[in-house]
């Protein structure tokens, strides 16, 4: 239903609504449960870059100076891992829950 609402608002331009969840130090720097409307076919890397740029420390925690994900960053789409090397070519889909977090340290 959201799809039609967005379509009307944007004169036919398709948008999708996704939720981004950051955890641990990423959450402290960037917040979490961020619900955002973006153009359909926005890629994971582009979306996360855009949000992370709101806080330089948050950006530096996730990306290196070349704008590449630090190798330790973990991405998930709806609870399933997305390889960092696929993130630039993986489009977000309406209703996606995207999680971004550092290495786990439970136990």
């Amino acid at each position: 239903m959201q799809w039609y609402d967005n379509k009307e608002k944007n004169s036919g331009e398709e948008e999708v609504t996704v939720k981004i969840r950051f955890f641990a130090q990423f959450r402290e720097l960037l917040g979490t449960d961020i619900v955002i409307n973006v153009a359909a076919a926005t890629m994971f890397t582009h979306l996360i870059t855009t949000i992370a740029r709101k806080n330089p420390k948050g950006y530096a925690a996730i990306f290196d100076e070349n704008g590449t994900f630090h190798e330790f960053v973990i991405l998930m789409k709806n609870g399933k891992r997305v390889d960092l090397t696929d993130a630039a070519t993986t489009p977000v889909v309406d209703g996606d829950e995207i999680a971004v977090f550092p290495p786990v340290a439970g136990g």
Binding site: F23, F72, I74, G79, P103, A105, G106
Partner: protein
Amino acid sequence: MIAIQTGDVDIGALIAAAKKNGTGAIVVFDGIVRDDEITEMELEAYEEVAVKELEKIANDATDQFRLLHVDIIHRIGRLTVGENILIIVVSAGHRKEAYAGSRFIIEAIKAGVPIWKKELTKDGGRWVPGDHGHGKGHH
């Protein structure tokens, strides 16, 4: 029982409930907040995913080590020194399977379940660094 929760559990009751037909050994792992000059520990989880992964680990361990019962309770929120963080109760026919199953579960949790710890000190806090290998043994 597989759970991520703020509250503590009655380990004695878990042991009693883990005695099944054929149980010959129960191994209990109890991970505790250590006094590393910290005031408290703050734990956080990606709960929906973490619970599913704990369930998968319990199922894998049950199949691999012929376990008769598994409980995994991981606590989140603020915990003080001496409090339980993680309780694993494993029931098996023999000690070998019980120990091996318990070890498998704790190592799998450390390697891949989305839970994080922050040590709170008088001067602030610090996130406990996780393994950078993404649980796959590479860097």
